[in-house]
Symmetry: C2
Subunit: 251 residues, 2 copies
DNA sequence: AGGCGCTTGTGAAGGTGTGCACAAATCGCG
DNA sequence: CGCGATTTGTGCACACCTTCACAAGCGCCT
């Protein structure tokens, strides 16, 4: 959500093999958002030694229900075996292919404040298909600094470096009032996907995808549920739950 | 999305009255997720001096379309004036009330690695209704360190401090393999809302809300769209947007 | 006072996503 | 070789969300 429409190719037959240069299954947005979670779960299971997983098992590991998982995977084609389950290695390969993770993608990060520093050092990127290849900031006092072995450059160099390094994804970790200007620079540099941590909306051309992560919004949503829970427990019979530790979902 | 059941009250029929005794509008989840965005936009508009906003104007500032915005707001009640628009101050007050932001909420943060440090210093929390009142880590070498004027305590103290400080929201910024244990501790300490940055699924009792933010997943979703776009431009007749800067206001 | 333009609030239609329940497919075993 | 246990893939019904289109309400101007 919060994205713009995604054109979908004309009607490509679903049955067709993957690998086709062109044929791209047009997956529901909701499914796409879950594939990375399945991928993570599969990697865990793979290290744990299993060769195959049932939809039930994988669903539990990914925190969804099994019917949904099966439907999601069926959109990619038929990579399971009835009566057996899914081949872990094969499924990993397929999902990585669909997500375009078979090639390591170059990412640049703009804004090296508190959050930017943390992102630059976050190893979850490197381990999951991405490589931060350049850091930018507008603040001259930060330019030249070295973080995680990468030099912070001035944002003026972004255009040139983006082309040199073939950067298609940019991460914005600047204050809100600088974000739109940065987005404009990124777009002009040919970046077509932006991950925005600044609390503001960005205007970009239709061919550019933007995803937004706003930490405060997440907390506010939780706050709502707190508020709601409080207003419920205030009324009905005594007290809230006994705080036991009943592990709702099977771990 | 990615949340567990929001059990609502028991099996309240659909049509049935909304506001339980407490009269709480039972808002669609999708609406709740957008309210914080409206709130932010309203604060911006308020500072810009406007007394009232039209649904069109607010929608643009929040990055949604106006019909959706009106429907969302209509769920809270009628706080607009036909022919005029919405009173900015009044609407801010209402949304803050619904989100439970009229009281500042105490938050604790567990895990002070790279990301944890950044979160501890993120001023977006303080400015939007939250206060980080305690920091915890399991690593003895971090305990005692002072970050942003707050002492890092050992996680063993979490239970006691959580009660003393009346903490209802916990943020997990630990590695994935520690996250479940931390969640268990939080739950035992009476925390009923968790924001999880660790890339793993958490098992918690049904009365606890969990929201997950996974930075790598966001990138992987963008990667998919990159992949798709690449496989499209490879085929059709010439193309590639002119990179102009045409402000295609996001939908 | 009355009419006119503007903007909200909402019924209804269409689309997307979810979950159930079951047929189809596969394996292992006697 | 056939049977039963198991597990995938999917048709269908339902719930949720989005979008359109318009009536109802409000303020302003004459």
């Amino acid at each position: 959500m919060s994205q713009q429409r995604h054109g979908s190719t004309p009607g490509n037959g679903p049955g067709e093999r993957a690998g086709a240069v062109t044929a791209f299954p047009d997956l529901p947005e909701a499914t796409i958002a879950r594939l990375p979670e399945y991928l993570r779960a599969l990697h865990n299971l793979g290290e744990a030694g299993g060769d195959t997983v049932s939809s039930e098992g994988l669903a539990a590991a990914a925190g969804v229900n099994s019917a949904k998982l099966r439907k999601d995977l069926s959109h990619l084609g038929s990579y399971g075996t009835r009566g057996v389950g899914y081949d872990v290695a094969l499924l990993i390969e397929q999902i990585e292919y669909v997500l375009g993770l078979d090639q390591r993608r170059a990412v640049c990060l703009v804004g090296l404040g508190n959050l930017g520093h943390a992102l630059a050092g976050y190893d979850g990127f490197a381990s999951r298909g991405f490589k931060i290849v350049a850091l930018f900031d507008a603040d001259a006092s930060k330019v030249g600094e070295e973080i995680q072995g990468l030099l912070v450059r001035h944002i003026e160099d972004l255009g040139r470096v983006a082309v040199e390094e073939n950067i298609a994804i940019g991460v914005i970790a600047t204050p809100a009032d600088a974000a739109q200007a940065v987005a404009d620079v990124l777009v002009d540099a040919g970046v077509t996907s932006i991950l925005n941590f600044a609390p503001c909306v960005l205007s970009v051309p239709a061919n550019v995808d933007v995803r937004k992560v706003d930490l405060a919004i997440e907390l506010q949503i939780l706050s709502f549920h707190e508020h709601r829970k409080a207003s419920l427990t205030a009324l009905p019979g005594g007290r809230s739950a006994p705080a036991g530790n009943q592990e709702a979902v099977g771990s």
